[in-house]
């Protein structure tokens, strides 16, 4: 009984992966659980494990090719098993070489020579494995995939197409809510002219073409899913850091406790605040909200090619030093793309800290399905009035971006007020 090896779908947002290298070659014996290949997803580099034991009879995708999730990439079978008949029935993977980004995945029929191994014994089987034209298309990803345009065809109502043309909206970036993902009028509501620019413009002269990494593409897609349909609003507040800075120094001197970073302090303070404000740990679901009781906070970790959100679970139940240690570990692994999917998905609220870059304040984009994100600026020295005298204060600006479908300005202001109060009276953080 042959076992199919497919490009896995390791995260909700993963639609395709890059096959980086095979650890095994054709003819090798494999045990269930063996690492077969190294795969780059939109967020991380991971090992692809065998789910069955046997002989790796056939490799269908060479390293360096991008394959949609769900497509067949290899077959494991008994050593003496004839897999030709099985292969003839299979749909060949839709691959394209890294560097051919932007082109739609080519069906195997159009580019068979590129999609399979060029080794001589495989060339013989090539024509046998070309699928019949009427072979039914294989679902590349389940319907929950964020943008289901993997076949390159965009389904939109004529009205939606007209609106998109008038407002120069690129429909390939829109998730349709109609039957079979059809984009309809309501999916474009609130999108202003050029909000999602059409890609029809001619390329700039002499511009250098830089291919997007998988991560950058994932970020681009996720941000559009956020900014386009989620009505953001922003509330900014100033926090007096006069008390918390000395506390931080004191904690550092306290023996083996690692010095908490500004992010760690905010994670803890936000977690305590989130306990009191269920709306900010909710997600909007059309006719209801899903309120999470687990306070899992995502922290944006910057790296040269993009940003990833490390998730710290149950932050309200962890001590500051536990949070601090966990953040250090996850940030370090995030920078080398070694976070596991469960370590960068499923946050209920996110924090983005640019304080180390001399940024007064900024507004962050919400990561769906979260309802809010907190943006932290730098600590600035400013004149403040204290006890009737002007003194130099340490002031930080934070900005809360909120999904207006979930909460309003009043609640956002109350949330910030509570957070500010915790940061300005920080003893509760040390508990």
């Amino acid at each position: 009984m042959a076992n199919r090896v497919v490009m896995p779908k390791l995260t909700d947002t993963m639609e395709e992966g890059v096959l980086l290298q095979w650890y095994k070659k054709e003819g090798d014996t494999v045990e269930s659980g063996d690492a077969l290949a190294e795969v780059e997803t939109d967020k991380a580099v991971m090992d692809l494990e065998a789910f069955a034991s046997g002989t790796l009879k056939k490799i269908l995708v060479e390293p360096g090719y991008i394959v949609p999730s769900g497509d067949l990439i290899a077959l494991i079978a008994r050593d003496d098993e004839d897999i030709e008949a099985l292969l003839a029935k299979e749909k060949m993977p839709r691959t394209r070489q890294v560097g051919e980004e932007g082109k739609a995945a080519a069906p195997a029929e159009e580019a068979p020579a590129k999609t399979t191994s060029p080794s001589p014994q495989q060339t013989k089987t090539q024509s046998d494995t070309t699928p019949e034209p009427e072979a039914k298309p294989k679902a590349a990803s389940p319907p929950s995939a964020p943008i289901a345009h993997t076949d390159g065809e965009i389904k939109a109502s004529p009205l939606a197409k007209k609106i998109a043309a008038e407002r120069q909206i690129d429909l390939s970036q829109i998730q349709g809510s109609g039957p079979a993902g059809r984009i309809i009028q309501r999916d474009l509501e609130g999108l202003s002219a050029g909000a999602i620019a059409s890609t029809g413009a001619a390329p700039l002269n002499e511009a250098e073409r830089v291919e997007l990494t998988m991560l950058r593409k994932a970020i681009a897609s996720r941000m559009i899913q956020s900014k386009a349909p989620v009505p953001h609003f922003y509330v900014t507040s100033e926090i007096d850091m006069g008390k918390i800075l000395p506390l931080r120094e004191a904690l550092q001197k306290d023996g083996d406790t690692p010095r908490p970073s500004m992010s760690d302090l905010f994670i803890k303070a936000t977690a305590l605040t989130l306990r009191k404000f269920p709306a900010f740990r909710s997600s909007y679901a059309g006719d209801h909200l899903n309120v999470s009781n687990a306070i899992d906070i995502g922290l944006a970790i910057g790296m040269p090619e993009g940003v990833i959100t490390a998730v710290i679970r149950n932050c309200d139940q962890k001590t500051l030093s536990q949070i601090s240690a966990e953040v250090k570990d996850k940030a370090a692994r995030a920078r080398v793309k070694k976070l596991k999917p469960e370590e960068y998905t499923g946050a209920v609220f996110s924090i983005s800290n640019l304080g180390m870059f001399d940024v007064e304040s900024f507004s962050a984009i919400i990561t769906p399905p979260e309802a809010a994100v907190l943006a932290i600026g730098s600590i600035l020295e400013k004149p403040v009035v204290s006890n009737g005298e002007i003194v130099i204060g340490k002031i930080m600006k934070v900005t809360l971006s909120t999904d207006h479908r979930v909460a309003d300005g009043l609640q956002a202001a109350e949330f910030l007020k509570a957070l500010k109060s915790t940061m300005e009276n920080p003893l509760s953080l040390a508990l």
Partner: protein, 326 residues
């Protein structure tokens, strides 16, 4: 404005025109001594006499042909069919003579006549007497077709039909004859080929004629309770269609449900949706839904007959579909 029954409005239209033009006469089964099978011609024999209100034997092919001949030589006959189920016998005269003689004679002959009578089901009349046959007639070039839904439209459109120099067929309905509505005082006509917005709305366009129009207005009230604001468009004339008014409405609502009592295959609603796709494709946010009679002979049993005809439930389901509501 006076309130009249639909049958009274038709009676007024014919009587007023006959008083002005002596070449007009009414002919059909039971139109005279019996005052009409559905009392549409009540009192007309008394007023106009047996030369102008002519009772016929049960011979649809015969008296339809007599009417065509009379029209060819200068009279303006109104041929009443007891129902359009029986008019099938006269179809040869309508298709092969009434609609063709003007063009076949190079314009030398005119056939200014009206065929009129009830169309469609009327509660438990069984398969052979419950048919909605307007699509058969609308298929034929040379024939105009009207299907008024209110007493006001019935009077104004029938007067225009009588004055038209071409054959015009007027689809009435047994269930409509007793319905009442305001009819303007004095002389007025409603032009053939002009649709009417019976209810303004912004969320979805319902298109229907004759008694289905009344069902749509009632359904629009139900929809309003669910927060859906339906526009109800009455084409009034089925050929030629007033696509301008219909497309204007589609442009506003972006969603269309067409309701027709007749069978779905090749129905007038199919023709209207074809014209909407042709002229209004870019305005549509959802495929057009058609709510038609079920594709079977109309059953006699009460429950089955009701199940075979369009209903508010079916219309609401179609409306929710075009609005992508669950």
């Amino acid at each position: 404005m006076p309130i009249l029954a639909y049958r009274e409005a038709l009676n007024q239209a014919m009587s007023e025109e006959m008083r002005k033009d002596p070449s007009i006469f009414l002919m059909g089964e039971e139109v005279g001594f019996y005052d009409g099978a559905f009392k549409v011609s009540k009192g007309m024999l008394k007023e106009f006499g047996p030369m102008r209100v002519v009772d016929t034997p049960i011979t649809e092919a015969g008296f339809t042909g007599v009417g065509v001949g009379a029209a060819m030589v200068g009279l303006r006959p109104i041929i009443e069919m007891m129902t359009f189920n029986f008019a099938i016998l006269g179809l040869d005269q309508i298709i092969n003579n009434a609609t063709k003689l003007h063009s076949m004679s190079g314009g030398q002959l005119k056939v200014p006549m009206v065929f009129r009578g009830p169309n469609g089901s009327a509660k438990r009349l069984a398969s052979q007497h419950s048919q909605s046959l307007e699509s058969l007639y609308c298929h034929i070039p040379g024939l105009k077709a009207i299907a008024p839904s209110t007493p006001k439209d019935a009077k104004g459109l029938l007067k225009s039909a009588i004055r038209d120099n071409n054959p015009v067929i007027c689809f009435e309905a047994q269930a409509l004859y007793g319905t009442k509505g305001e009819v303007p005082d004095g002389e007025y006509t409603i032009p053939i080929g002009k649709a009417d917005i019976k209810r303004e709305g912004k969320d979805v366009t319902l298109i229907a004629w004759s008694k289905m129009l009344l069902l749509c207005l009632q359904t629009a009230d139900f929809l309003a309770k669910e927060g859906i604001d339906a526009e109800v468009v009455d084409p009034r004339t089925l050929r030629p269609l007033d696509m301008e008014t219909i497309l204007e409405s589609v442009k506003k609502t972006h969603r269309v449900v067409i309701v027709e009592e007749a069978w779905p295959y090749g129905g007038v609603s199919a023709q209207i949706s074809d014209r909407i796709y042709y002229g209004g494709l870019d305005d549509l946010d959802a495929p057009i839904e058609r709510v038609c009679g079920e594709d079977c002979p109309i059953p006699y049993a009460k429950n089955l007959e009701e199940a075979a005809l369009p209903s508010s439930e079916k219309i609401i389901a179609a409306v929710k579909k075009v609005l992508y509501l669950k």
